[in-house]
Amino acid sequence: MSNSHSISADKSSEGALEQAWESYWFLPAGSRSLAVVRVMTGVLGLLLCATYGTDISGWFGPRGWLPIDSVTAWRSFFAYSIFDACETNTHLLVAFYSLVSLFVLLAIGFLTPITSLLAALGWASLLHRGPMLAGPADDSMAILLWCLVIGSSGEHFSVDAILHKRLGWHASRHRVRTRMAVGLLQVHAAVISLAALLAQLKGDVWWNGTAVWWIATRKPGQVVDITGLLSQSEYLCNMFTHGVIAWEAFVAVGIWFTFSQKIVARAGLIVWPIIGVLTGCPLWGLAMATLTIPLTQLVDETES
């Protein structure tokens, strides 16, 4: 009797797990929030391209700081970059500004399925051309772009949507692949927060509350000088440091529960950029806020 009970309990838990998995990944979803992610990703891409400076040939040109031979010997065996084929400054500039143009097209939503794929490939190429230059925002940007390739992000707030309406083509609809893209954004937001948290907790300065001080005193790359503020109060310095840790832990866990998900995502729109400034990576903060946009439920997903 007890045996049959345990078998039925196993079956019901297996069924519940299956149900949860299926509804999480395969329930068709609307794409308005993913369209907002697309616009933000396009803008973020432009900002990140700007961090390479106006003179890309100074980095990767034939007489640049990172010639192709030393980079190919340094980077992973599996890496490949379209920029490897650019042997002159002109070719390099054409490739780079093509990528910049792709981010503009992505932001405005023109030929989105093609643009998002080319932007993802172009961005991965740029990172592999100089992997030692890449940081947290670049890494997160690649994730955002691949999620846009999977989901349908051009059906709203885009040139594509205007053209489709004028030409009387198919209206936007809920899609499984959009749900998968949103699910992947959520998984990566949690994984990145958790991985950052684990990396930070290996250092004493994150335990004794002085990490933000060490970041703030790093002059090059500084966005806002808060050393004066931090030197006045040790409590404030500790509060900022512990706040970063607490927030990352809150996101890694809270993003999975219905009651806390919306709070985490909405608060993240403000907190992540602040964390970005405190950790010296404002664009990373912006990328993390973008990852959780669909979970804020600020955008109405009902199709007209």
Binding site: W74, L133, A134, R218, P220, G221
Partner: protein, 207 residues
């Protein structure tokens, strides 16, 4: 796992086989994602995990993104995460040239900081020693207007929070002479700085 056609209509447009394929792909991808976090470079990793990741996942996970493992520690309060600077001079001359973009505006200097840290860190990695500094040669020769130069990377140690914000003496982490040989090859001669060593114990003083 996916049973019943009636459920299909509730779930929208994907049939059983595409959903099964997607499930398998997601499971494989999440395993790879877990390994990238577990094997991220500066945290160290077990040989077993590195081999599994290298053989099964790296070839398709590295190309679309960098496989950095999201190892965002930002600061450990050590020399490695202090501000790095680059200086160059023509060999035999005294005055150092400091490229302005290294510690210029936020956008460019953040990438320069990563590059200089990579140069210093890669000196400890087998097979990567000297690769990046040697690659600097053309740009550095052109900046110094000479084919025989000295390049150095130093850090500006940061003060403790309780101390006044003065600038302590910089610490040179890497210094090398770069010169172009007759055939066009680049020769890199690394300067070894004096390191702390254990005191010499004379025989008479020994046990």
């Amino acid at each position: 796992m996916f049973s019943g056609q009636n459920k299909h209509s509730e779930r929208g447009s994907w049939g059983e086989i595409p959903r099964a394929c997607a499930t398998v792909f997601l499971a494989i991808y999440f395993t790879g994602l877990g390994l990238t976090v577990a094997c991220n470079t500066s945290s160290g990793s077990s040989l077993l995990l590195s081999v599994v990741k290298g053989k099964l996942f790296s070839f398709w996970l590295v190309p679309p993104w960098l496989d950095l493992g999201f190892d965002y520690s930002f600061a450990y309060g050590q020399q490695a995460d202090a501000a790095h600077y680059l200086e160059l001079r023509e060999y035999g001359k005294e005055n150092w040239i400091k490229p302005s973009y290294v510690d210029g505006n936020y956008s460019q200097s953040i990438r320069w900081q990563r590059l200089l840290r990579s140069v210093v860190a890669s000196e400890e990695e087998a097979g990567r020693e000297g690769l990046l500094p040697a690659g600097f040669s053309e740009a550095a020769f052109s900046l110094c207007d000479s084919d025989d130069i000295v390049l150095r990377i130093f850090v500006q140690p940061r003060p403790e929070r309780q101390l006044p914000i003065d600038n302590p003496a910089p610490i040179v982490l890497y210094e090398a002479r770069l010169r172009k040989l007759v055939g066009g090859d680049i020769q890199l001669i690394k300067s070894e700085h004096r390191r702390e060593v254990a005191p010499v114990i004379s025989e008479s003083g020994g046990a």
